[in-house]
């Protein structure tokens, strides 16, 4: 009889390369009575392992255990409900929420401690109009008002020569007033 397959399996077994199924084949093989001489040394190992697997506790043990836990086990069961992904990741959602809240509080605190001389609720660049149509009616006059406040270069020279004061409302005089 050819034992090459068993020998190959044994070699894999010593190298821990056998699957559980292949190890079952080895166990079954070595349970036989008729084992070739060169494999008999290993038979004792598998017989010993088989004997170890046969060790059992007696039936009285169950009774002792049930007494030890107060015989509640007959009725008590625990139902394991599979965890859905959103339940499983709930802690992460909570953590993300907490981080968001902390960031919001931090930003609010930072904003409240910053000095600001602007009146609350009024943007720095905003102009206020009582009449909603006022901006549109005033807009056409704006270029004219702007050009009126400007002084032509020849005017300026004449005024300087005459020692006349600069007209109020010019850009230079406004700058001096700190406007």
């Amino acid at each position: 009889m050819d034992y090459k397959y068993i020998e190959q399996l044994l070699e894999k077994y010593w190298n821990c390369e056998t699957s559980v199924e292949e190890e079952r084949i080895l166990h079954s093989f070595f349970r036989q009575e008729d084992i070739p001489a060169h494999l008999r040394a290993y038979q004792h190992i598998f017989v010993c392992l088989g004997q170890q697997g046969a060790e059992k506790l007696d039936a009285a043990f169950d009774k002792r255990v049930l007494e030890a836990i107060g015989k509640k086990a007959e009725k008590d069961t625990v139902q394991c409900i599979p965890l859905k992904p959103y339940i499983r990741f709930r802690p992460f959602y909570k953590a993300a929420g907490m981080i968001g809240i902390l960031l919001a509080i931090g930003m609010a605190a930072q904003h409240s401690f910053q000095p600001s001389d602007l009146s609350e609720g009024t943007p720095a660049c905003a102009e206020q109009y009582a009449d909603p149509d006022a901006p549109f009616t005033q807009m056409p006059d704006a270029p004219e008002q702007q050009s009126a406040s400007l002084i032509s270069p020849t005017d300026t020279i004449d005024r300087l020569q005459m020692g006349a004061p600069r007209p109020s409302g010019t850009p230079t005089s406004q700058a001096k007033k700190g406007l």
Binding site: A41, C48, Q52, I69, C80
Partner: protein
């Protein structure tokens, strides 16, 4: 063989009587490999059962109740061994001493060489004994053993390789020289 690591997607009701109590023999064998004492192993299994029962509110969070029970059992067995102040590897006189693990009639029925192999296995370090037990007797996969012992798959293979090859070389010596 082993059927652990239940599918999380299926709703499962875990019953102490139907799912945990039947593990007693596997737990007993593992405890026995660690404590090397029948009475202590039995106490360890009972303590394991009580402890698992007390943790019943955590069952639904477990991937595998079986792996959880095995892990607790091993820890309790190691505690027991430490409390007893014993070395987990008996070194002296083991080859001559009949195993204390089974009934006298079982011992008598074993042949001498199998008994020697049995003693050799008791000489292995605890971790190797436990892995040999979980793989070669109970048929757990490497991943399952790694989960129970809380080590990596690679470490499991390394320890198993050492254990198997120690037993192999000793078995060959016994066969050759009749030691």
């Amino acid at each position: 063989m082993a059927t652990v690591f239940h599918n999380r997607d299926k709703m499962k009701t875990i019953s102490f009587r139907d799912d945990i109590l039947p593990l007693k023999d596997k737990l007993f064998r593992l405890a026995l490999r660690i404590t090397l004492n029948t009475e202590e192993a039995e106490d360890v299994v009972q303590d394991t059962m009580v402890k698992v029962w007390q943790q019943k509110e955590n069952w639904q969070r477990l991937n595998s109740v079986e792996a959880y029970c095995m892990t607790i059992c091993r820890h309790l067995a190691l505690d027991k061994t430490t409390q007893a102040g014993r070395r987990n590897v008996p070194l002296d006189g083991q080859a001559e001493k009949p195993s204390s693990l089974s009934a006298p009639d079982e011992i008598a029925s074993r042949n001498e060489r199998v008994r020697m192999i049995w003693s050799l296995m008791e000489k292995l370090p605890e971790i190797q004994r436990s892995i040999l037990q979980l793989r070669d007797v109970e048929g757990y996969s490497y991943q399952e053993i790694a989960g129970i012992l809380q080590i990596s798959d690679t470490q499991v293979k390394v320890y198993l390789h050492r254990a198997r090859n120690f037993i192999r070389s000793e078995a060959e010596k016994i066969d050759e020289y009749g030691l």
